[in-house]
C-alpha cells in the first residue's frame, strides 16, 4: 500500500505540460487532487472517502452539532439543487442564445457585405461580357446608319427625279400648247380665208350642187325603200 501510494505520489509530482502553463495551479492542491483522482477502483472513491471521514469526524467529536440550522440547511440545499438541476440547462441555453444573437447580428452584417460584393463581381462580369459583344452592337448600328443614309439618298434621288420630270413635262406641255395653238390658229386662219374666198357665185353653185346631190340621194333612197 505504501509503495503504491508513494508511486502515485511520485507520478503526481511530475507536472503535466498543460499544468505548467497555467497560472493558478497550486502545487499542494494539484498534487492532492491528482493523487485523489488516480482511479484504482472502477469508480473513484477517494474524495468520497475523505468526505465521509471528515463528516464522521466532525459529528463524533461534536465539532459540528446537528441542530435546527441543519434542518433549514437541508431544506435550502434541496431548493438550490432542485432549481439548478431543473433550470440550469434552460438558463445556460438562454445565455448561449443571447451570445448567439449577438454573433448573428455581426454575421448578418458580414454576410450582407459579402453578398453585395459578390453581386458587384457578378455585375462586373456581366459588363465585361457585354463589352465583348459590343462589336455586334456597333455593326448593327453601322448597318442601321448605312440603311438610313441609303434610304435618304434614294428619297432625294426620287425627289430630284420628280422635280426634273416636272420641269420637263412643263416644257413638253408648253411646246404642245404652242403647237396646238399654232395649229388652231392656222386652221382658223385657213378657214377664215377659205370662207372669205368663197365668192357668192361659187356659193350658189355649190348650194345648187348640194341640192341636186341630195335629190339624187333621195331618189336612190326611195328606190331602195320600195325595193
Amino acid at each position: 500500500m505504501a509503495s503504491s501510494q508513494r508511486s502515485s505520489f511520485n507520478s503526481c509530482t511530475r507536472r503535466l505540460e498543460s499544468q505548467q502553463n497555467q497560472t493558478h495551479t497550486s502545487a499542494v492542491t494539484s498534487t492532492l487532487v491528482c493523487q485523489l483522482s488516480r482511479a484504482r477502483a472502477p469508480t473513484n472513491s477517494r474524495p468520497y472517502m475523505l468526505g465521509a471521514g471528515l463528516l464522521t469526524y466532525f459529528l463524533s467529536k461534536e465539532i459540528y452539532i446537528i441542530n435546527h440550522e441543519t434542518i433549514s440547511a437541508a431544506c435550502m440545499a434541496t431548493v438550490i439543487i432542485y432549481s439548478v438541476k431543473r433550470f440550469g440547462p434552460d438558463v445556460a441555453a438562454f445565455a448561449d442564445k443571447l451570445n448567439e444573437e449577438k454573433l448573428q447580428k455581426a454575421e448578418e452584417v458580414k454576410a450582407l457585405a459579402v453578398a453585395s460584393l459578390a453581386q458587384a463581381i457578378e455585375d462586373e462580369k456581366k459588363e465585361q461580357w457585354r463589352v465583348e459583344g459590343r462589336h455586334l452592337l456597333f455593326d448593327a448600328k453601322r448597318n442601321n446608319v448605312a440603311m438610313l443614309l441609303e434610304t435618304n439618298w434614294r428619297e432625294r434621288v426620287h425627289t430630284v427625279h420628280n422635280e426634273v420630270k416636272k420641269r420637263l413635262d412643263y416644257q413638253i406641255a408648253l411646246q404642245s400648247l404652242h403647237r396646238r395653238m399654232e395649229q388652231e390658229h392656222m386652221v382658223s386662219w385657213v378657214e377664215k380665208n377659205v370662207v372669205s374666198s368663197i365668192t357668192p357665185q361659187q356659193e350658189k353653185t355649190s348650194i345648187a350642187k348640194c341640192i341636186t346631190d341630195l335629190k339624187s340621194l333621195a331618189k336612190i333612197q326611195q328606190a331602195k325603200a320600195t325595193v
Partner: protein, 227 residues
C-alpha cells in the same frame, strides 16, 4: 445556555472586530466584472442581460433627470438582493435584518428625492400633497394626511425590509426547530412540518428578491414624482 432565537440577528463581532463589515463586502466578489471581450461567458452575459432588463423596466417611466439615479439604484438593488439571498444560507448573518442599516439606506435616499423635488420644481412637489379631484371641505385634512404619509415613507421603507427579512428568518428558525424537536418524537408530524419548511424556504427566496426590488421600485416612484 438558552436557545435564543434572536441571537442570529445580533451583529457578529469576533475579538472586537465587527464582522458586519465582512458580511457587507462579501457579495461584491460574487459578481464578476465584465472582461474586455465582445462575447463573454454565460455568467457575465446573464448578469448583463438581467441588469439591463431591470434597468429598462424601472427607468422607462422616468424622464431624463431620473436616469441619473440609475447607477445608484440598480447597484443598491443588486446589493440588497445578494445580501438577502446569502442570508438564507445556514449560519450566515443578514445585514439587512438590522434596522439601522435599512434606515441608513432609506432616509438619505428619500430625503434626496424630496430635496431634489423641492429645489427644481417646488410647486409641483408641494402639489403632490393634494390629490386631484378632492372635494373642497376635505382639503385641509387631506394635506395634513398627505404630509404625514410623506414623512412616514422612509420609515416604511426601512421597516418593511427589516420586518420582512427578520420575520422570514425567525419563521425558518422556529419551524426548523419544530422539525428538529419533533423528529425523534413524532416522525410523521416532523415530515409534515418539514414540507411546510420547504414551502417556507421557497417563499423566503421569493421574498428576499421581491423586497429588494420593492425597495428600489418605491424609491424610483418617489423620484418620479419629484424629478
Amino acid at each position: 445556555m438558552m436557545l435564543n432565537f434572536f441571537d442570529q440577528f445580533m451583529s457578529p463581532v469576533l475579538l472586537g472586530i465587527p464582522l458586519i463589515a465582512l458580511a457587507l463586502l462579501l457579495p461584491w466578489i460574487l459578481f464578476p466584472n465584465p472582461a474586455a471581450r465582445w462575447i463573454n461567458n454565460r455568467l457575465i452575459t446573464l448578469q448583463g442581460w438581467s441588469i439591463s432588463q431591470t434597468t429598462h423596466q424601472l427607468f422607462t417611466p422616468l424622464n431624463q433627470g431620473g436616469h441619473k439615479w440609475a447607477t445608484l439604484l440598480i447597484s443598491l438593488m443588486i446589493f440588497l438582493i445578494s445580501l438577502n439571498l446569502l442570508g438564507l444560507l445556514p449560519y450566515t448573518f443578514t445585514p439587512t435584518t438590522q434596522l439601522s442599516l435599512n434606515m441608513a439606506f432609506a432616509v438619505p435616499l428619500w430625503l434626496a428625492t424630496v430635496i431634489v423635488g423641492l429645489r427644481n420644481q417646488p410647486t409641483i412637489a408641494l402639489g403632490h400633497l393634494l390629490p386631484e379631484g378632492t372635494p373642497l371641505p376635505l382639503i385641509p385634512v387631506l394635506i395634513i394626511i398627505e404630509t404625514i404619509s410623506l414623512f412616514i415613507r422612509p420609515l416604511a421603507l426601512g421597516v418593511r425590509l427589516t420586518a420582512n427579512l427578520t420575520a422570514g428568518h425567525l419563521l425558518i428558525q422556529l419551524i426548523a426547530t419544530a422539525v428538529f424537536v419533533l423528529l425523534p418524537l413524532m416522525p410523521t408530524v416532523a415530515i409534515l412540518t418539514a414540507s411546510v419548511l420547504f414551502l417556507l424556504t421557497l417563499l423566503e427566496v421569493a421574498v428576499a428578491m421581491i423586497q429588494a426590488y420593492v425597495f428600489i421600485l418605491l424609491l424610483s416612484l418617489y423620484l418620479q414624482e419629484n424629478v
